[in-house]
């Protein structure tokens, strides 16, 4: 089962990578970009009997390993039928 984990720095934590990107974009002329925060994105392929089981296992993994609670928060998504139909519009590259 395909699952995804998003790990982001907590809003109160300064993000030097994000700031560097904003600066770079500004020098490239992209002044409409107000703010950038960089995080991590994981795709986990897990064996699980149900989406709920997958979700709770992956949440545990995120909690224990993928995120550092001192500075980061995380979000888990499990690909199920509903998300396939969701209205999120996507643009993908090859």
């Amino acid at each position: 089962m395909k699952t995804k984990v998003f790990v982001t720095l907590k809003p109160s934590v300064f993000d030097p990578q994000g700031k560097t990107i904003v600066d770079a974009l500004r020098s490239m002329g992209y002044t409409a970009v107000q703010d950038v925060r960089q995080g991590k994105y994981f795709e986990l392929d897990v064996e699980a009997g149900s989406t709920d089981e997958a979700r709770s296992m992956v949440a545990e993994v995120a909690e224990k390993l993928l995120a550092n609670p001192v500075i980061e928060s995380y979000r888990v998504e499990v690909d199920d039928e509903r998300s396939q139909e969701s209205g999120v519009r996507r643009q993908e590259t090859a």
């Binding site: 560097t20 600066d23 770079a24 020098s27």
Partner: protein, 745 residues
Amino acid sequence: MSIDQTTIDEHGLNADEYQRLLEILGREPTMTELGIFSVMWSEHCSYKSSRLHLRRLPTEGPRVVQGPGENAGAVDIGDGLTAVFKIESHNHPSFIEPYQGAATGVGGIIRDIFTMGARPIALLNSLRFGTLDDPATRRLVDGVVAGIAGYGNSIGIPTLGGEIAFEPSYAGNPLVNVFCLGVAKADQLAKGVASGAGNPVYYVGAKTGRDGIHGATMASAEFDEHSAEKRPAVQVGDPFMEKLLLEACLEVMQTGALVGIQDMGAAGLTCSTSEMGARGDVGIEIDVSLVPQRETGMTPYEIMLSESQERMLLVARQGREAEVEQVFEKWDLHAVRIGEVRDDGRLRIRDHDEVVAEIPNRQLADRAPLYNRSTERPAYLAQAQQLDVAALAAPAALSGTWLDLLRAPVIASKRWVYRQYDHMVRTNTVVLPGLGAGVVRVKGTGRALAFSVDGNGRYCYLDPAEGGRLAVAEAARNVACAGAVPIGATNCLNFGNPERPEIMWQFAQAVDGIAEACRALGIPITGGNVSLYNETDGQAIYPTPVLGVVGLIDDATRVLTRVFPAVGLEIVLLGDAAGELGGSEYLTLAHGLVGGRPAAVDLDRERALQTLLVDVARDGLIGSAHDCAEGGFAVTLAECCVESGGVGARVELSGPGGPDDRFLLVRALFGEAPSRVVVSALPGTRDRLLARARALSVPATVIGHTGGERLAISVAGVGVADIGLVEAEQAWANGLTRYFEAAVA
């Protein structure tokens, strides 16, 4: 399946080569066999254009323990120890993906060293790019430096220096050459040799994917506008895996259960199986279905040609498999037995029970194509070597030019680069980067090793033979300036398309120059690397041989750097007063020209100078030594002062004509020539220093004193150039950094 002409062409085999393949096999090849021949007979693996020439290099000497032919060379450094070192290029991969290309280059050279049973203790790199005004070049530089740092830092081998230059000729074809040095016990050197029928063949390390299939043939082809599409899956380095492999391999060698070992670099499994078999004159049979695979559905062809990184091939002694397997288990690596050694001399590749390739191994190696390609003196030379000094615009103010040269990225501080490299890990670093040759102590001996990589493409462009001599002389001189006796060298020859007679001429000339200088200076070449086809759209890079010289210092506490250690010391110039404008940095910076001829090196004089440097360093007569390279004497003088903690200098030159002879002054200040070194004499040692110099017929002139807050040069009592130390430091410190810290960050 029958092989059609298109397929043969795609594999880069010409008609003769294919004919030879047919003779060896006595039948049409399978696809896997075609792939194997294609990579083994590529320029990269077979050295078919360069082999004849490389034979002219001197490879023997009393200290040589391992000459060319193994994964790396080795020289005796006393106490039963050897220094194992080599240089490699990763030019093409770094252009395609700067970070990963440079990183995997570092990974590759490190494997070459630990494969020999040596613990790697130092890295250097030699880099060439286009000019920094181009943002694309800045991105390349940023990525290459980060990749070198990312790999070396992670694995824990200090990167101690190198060189970095910027010339338009490298814009479409940057050079990334990496050097690694390790230390091994002489009686424990490992070899890439298979022997003993029935001995098991093991595969260890990362799983095999479709990375870099045909990397070796790619490294042997020019770039053109279609290259972007031909990009094979880029290899991604895994320094963590390599660190595990390094430790596990060194540990497994201690067991005595190994017969031979080789890393899988270019041409991966193909090259390692066939070379190990050929060196031992045995056959090797493996089953590709046993090879750990990262992707599904890989064909035997792909498995044999994959260039996935961080993999090793081992031959163990029959009956001692458990010892080998246990060590790898400890490091969470799983050694997989994929085949065994045979006495039939054949490279036999099976996919389960089906034989997919069977090649007489010796013939694959011995009958590899060898070309004596035609050479022709290039037409550009006659014109390029002309330099009409009289036609040059009058020189600008010398002080301003002096500062401009200090600001030139090729001369300016490389701190922005080496600060990204962990250069202190392993606690052996005696000389930090940026102060001259890299120097590491050899723990447990009191001795130290110094090393430097050098080359000047501009000199080689203007005179390839002289350029080759100069590269050897400079690298050796840099090592001697640290107080080390040069004891061995490696080289990386970066050239254009060898099928063009002018390029081949450059190559042959450069090799002659290198060979002559190595002989004269008594420095054997123990290995190296050739990188050809460095061209984009038919435009070749400057011919660029890079020499890596290793030197030995008996007393690690008697090591010198470029920096004046104190005020009030006498400054002595060893060598001639003036240099030449031909090929100089000054000529490019002030007049936008690359022309003339570089000053020729007198190899007897050079040898005497190096002997002198080592003697006076050992006997504590001098406090610093720095050679005059790019930018000439004035730049060298400034480099002796920057980062000294505020030691300026005042010198008086008497040699070169009067103060109003404009180009003579420029020659004295910014002209370039070999065999010139600025040293500081320690208190009370001047006369002994001058006497030693006289005894060796090395010109030596007391030219001034250290101290003060300015750098001042006068000629015949008249001040000709004068800059503030703070001003000089700033120009030099920011010259390279300014391109990165504001822009790319």
